[in-house]
């Protein structure tokens, strides 16, 4: 049938038909996903929320912390400046979940998959578009947070003269922490996307994603056994992942900064694979 349809109009739309024949490639999928995200207002507001809430919480944390003249303060200025990531990650998770969840709740997913039968392409396109947007927003958020720390902290007693490093992207560990925080947000987006693909319901997915983000640090706070504390610090996604923000006492951390981000990447990979398998093998 479709061959007949195409055969009837090769002359008129030769230039258009050619891409349509291969019209289920990754580029088209990307274009479709980008259009979907671009044309509704929700994602834009959420991305703005990532930037605003992250910088807002970071600035609040930086503004509230003073190091009085007397004692030395056991504060990691860079980590303090990037506090807002704790908040921003929640918005990132919502954005990523809604990218898939909204399609299931409106039934749009059936149209999407009918148009793009190669589901892994749809999934990859969603992942690329969301992660790209999150990385951009995350870069603004982390940059703004570092700037807040750079401007405010020296006035609060965190001066080089007292042994604190300057919070600035020209300082290697701070640059690593800031870039790592942006990557962290990207991984959180992918993790949430995988969770949403597995669960296929926005509400439940958001609950599950926020539980993954916030529950482990809370459990860690309540656990009293040092051995289990160490294990949780090394192997839970957000606690390990956020060690990328540490710039002081790096050698006494339970896991190295990049190693911690790697642990988060493993969790993300597992969630993406599981979500992908569900999308691939289940009826939508």
């Amino acid at each position: 049938m479709s061959a007949a349809v195409q055969a009837s109009r090769p002359d008129r739309t030769a230039s258009r038909a050619a891409p349509r024949m291969t019209g289920t490639g990754l580029l088209d999928a990307l274009h479709a996903e980008w259009t979907k995200l671009r044309t509704i207002s929700g994602p834009g507001w959420l991305l703005l929320g990532v930037v605003a809430l992250t910088i807002g919480l970071s600035a609040a944390a930086v503004g509230a912390t003073h190091c009085p003249a007397g004692p030395r303060c056991a504060v990691d200025p860079t980590k303090l400046s990037l506090t807002g990531i704790e908040f921003g990650q929640a918005v990132v998770a919502i954005l990523a979940v809604l990218t898939i969840g909204n399609e299931y709740s409106t039934g749009m997913i059936r149209v999407t998959l009918a148009a793009m039968p190669r589901r892994e392409l749809v999934y990859a396109a969603k992942a690329i578009v969301v992660t790209g947007l999150v990385l951009v927003a995350g870069a603004l958020a982390a940059g703004g947070s570092v700037l807040a720390g750079h401007l405010i902290l020296p006035g609060h007693g965190f001066t080089a003269a007292r042994g604190f490093h300057v919070v600035s992207l020209s300082y290697g560990p701070t640059l690593r922490a800031a870039v790592g925080s942006v990557l962290y947000l990207g991984l959180i987006a992918l993790l949430s996307l995988g969770v949403a693909a597995m669960i296929r319901d926005s509400a439940v997915s958001i609950g599950a994603a926020l539980a993954v983000l916030y529950l482990f640090p809370i459990i860690l706070a309540f656990v009293t056994s040092p051995a289990w504390q160490h294990r949780l610090q090394r192997w839970t996604p957000t606690v390990a992942g956020l060690t990328i923000q540490a710039t002081t006492g790096v050698h006494s951390l339970p896991i190295s900064p990049w190693g911690g981000l790697g642990v988060l990447a493993i969790w993300t990979g597992v969630a993406l694979l599981a979500g992908g398998s569900v999308l691939r093998f289940r009826d939508a």
Binding site: A90, L210, V223
Partner: protein, 548 residues
């Protein structure tokens, strides 16, 4: 016009139908709830996860110890020292150096105190804190020395004492939990402090004075069942000196022993045998700490009591105070609410289900049928809040009862000292956790009705409860600012879980992870209720004003 004409018969029939109407409304909402399989499963999963996560957090700490460097490693209960209990049944710390004489019948003890000095473990605070080295001069805030009348030399026996403290002025303390402030300021030879305790029957009255002639009554306490002969005398003690590094990513506590030395003269006692001698007893190993910190247990040094020309010098370490949860405690203490950490995962599941309970109706258009069947929209909202809250309460009650009951068993068998509380407090903690979940469910229902989108409602409900708590636990903000997060946000409701009060006479860090909240339990719960009430009021308003 038409609406007015229609409202007349409705109002007339309303008085009769309203009650049956709301009952029916409740039943229809309950039917909606229980027939959605996912929601029922969600609630069951919430209960199971709450219990398991809570027991995991509470049950994995087993303390290991050894009696001697070469001896076998012991674990669990075998590690515990003798745990004294105070007259009120609470676990207490009772270690101090005591220069005493028997006091028979009514009598009094008066002394002038001219100095309180101390030494504590030399802890370098900063990046990479170090513990060790020689003792450094200085007092802990609650280092204390003074006079005491105590039932016996047994740890945990009843007492009343007048004392000078490191930085809290003169205090009268009794029976471990009682604490009344007297004269402020520090003691010195230029500004001495006179202290007096008078025993009359079971009642002991404490006085202080700055000049020895003008006395102020600080307080009186009745020590029920005090025997005729008690021990009276001088005491000195000083709690573990703790430096807490509150920094983002969790705080670290560095502690070490400390000791306090009090110098007294003009000691007069009435009611003791004439010419009695002062005996020195290190109650509970509360003698002085000598040598480098950590080189030996408290009380391993010389006796620490000297008497020359009517001047008495007494050095002691330890504390006379209630045992508290958290890292500063003398024993590996645990609280009954420690196994309720899993309530967070229960909370997340309950918030998801409660928000969907409203938003699912909007998504599927069922809300129009619901509101057509019951035009009183406020009543619909109330019925939804009651059903969601009721289910959350029952689920929470089952989960928290199991978690606390099993958790206390686990902690005890792991060799932790579970701080005992009254049955009423235990009920408040367990039922309060369930009520907290119920109010959070009502809050989520309100958010669902206002926002009509599950994603937004769930996010706001979870983030406003969980994130402030997390930021407070992680010490992102300095404690003063962090405390306000737990006073103003819905997370304040978790204070209902605190079983051990914030004793002012024990230095502790206000951190929910250690069992302390800045607000009293019911005040914190009231804050959460206020959020839910405000949310429901707003939901009621917009539900009436808006087209469904």
């Amino acid at each position: 016009m038409t609406a007015g004409a229609l409202s007349i018969p409705r109002a007339g029939a309303g008085a009769d139908a309203a009650r049956g109407g709301f009952g029916r409304l409740l039943r229809s909402e309950w039917t909606k709830f229980r027939t959605v399989r996912g929601w029922v499963i969600g609630m069951v999963v919430a209960a199971i996860l709450t219990v398991f996560v809570g027991l995991f957090a509470a049950g994995n700490a087993t303390s290991n110890c050894s009696n001697s460097p070469t001896g076998p490693t012991l674990s669990g209960k075998a590690c515990l020292p003798y745990i004294p209990h105070g007259p009120g049944g609470e676990v207490v710390t009772d270690s101090f150096n005591f220069a005493h004489q028997p006091l028979t019948g009514n009598g009094s003890i008066t002394v002038r105190m001219i100095s309180l000095t101390g030494e504590h473990a030399n802890i370098t605070n900063g990046h990479g804190a170090q513990v060790g080295g020689a003792l450094a001069a200085g007092l802990a805030p609650w280092s204390k020395a003074g006079i005491i009348i105590k039932r016996s030399l047994h740890q945990g026996s009843a007492y009343a004492a007048m004392m000078v403290t490191g930085s809290n002025g003169v205090r009268m303390q009794y029976n471990y939990t009682g604490d009344t402030a007297g004269l402020p300021g520090k003691v010195s030879a230029a500004a001495p402090r006179w202290l007096r305790l008078i025993r009359s029957g079971d009642t002991i009255t404490g006085y202080d004075s700055g000049d020895g002639t003008h006395w102020t009554r600080v307080g009186a306490v009745t020590l029920t069942g005090l025997p005729a002969t008690v021990q009276a005398g001088l005491f000195a003690t000083s709690p573990t000196y703790t430096v807490t590094n509150t920094s983002f990513g969790g705080d670290s506590n560095n502690g070490g022993p400390s000791q306090a030395t009090g110098v007294f003269d003009d000691l007069t006692v009435s009611g003791t045998p004439a010419g009695g001698r002062w005996a020195d007893t290190a109650v509970g190993g509360g003698g002085p700490v000598r040598g480098p910190a950590g080189s030996g247990p408290a009380g391993s040094g010389p006796s620490g009591f000297t008497e020359a020309d009517g001047r008495y010098t007494l050095t002691g370490s330890g504390d006379i105070a209630p045992a508290t949860p958290g890292p500063d405690s003398t024993y590996p203490t645990a609280t009954i609410e420690q196994s309720l950490a899993g309530a967070f995962i229960g909370l997340i599941a309950i918030v998801v289900v409660a928000a969907m309970f409203v938003t699912a109706e909007y998504r599927r258009g069922l809300i129009r049928a619901t509101l057509a069947a019951t035009p009183r929209r406020g009543a619909v909202l109330a019925a939804k809040a009651i059903v969601a809250g009721g289910v959350a309460f029952v689920v929470g009650l089952v989960a928290s009862t199991v978690a606390v009951a099993v958790g206390v068993q686990l902690e005890t068998s792991n060799g932790q000292v579970v701080l005992p509380v009254s049955a009423l407090t235990e009920i408040r903690v367990v039922a309060g956790t369930a009520a907290m979940l119920a109010v959070a469910a009502a809050f989520a229902v309100a958010l669902g009705a206002v926002l009509r989108r599950s994603a937004a409602a769930i996010t706001i409900a979870i983030v406003t409860v969980v994130l402030p708590f997390l930021l407070a636990v992680l010490n992102v903000f300095p404690s003063g600012v962090g405390d306000w997060l737990l006073r103003l946000t819905p997370a304040a409701g978790l204070a209902i879980e605190q079983s051990i009060p914030n004793y002012p006479q024990v230095t502790s860090v206000i951190n929910p992870a250690a069992g302390y909240y800045p607000l009293p339990p019911f005040a914190g719960f009231a804050v959460l209720c206020a959020w839910a009430a405000a949310g429901l009021a707003l939901a009621c308003y917009v539900l009436r004003r808006r087209d469904a």
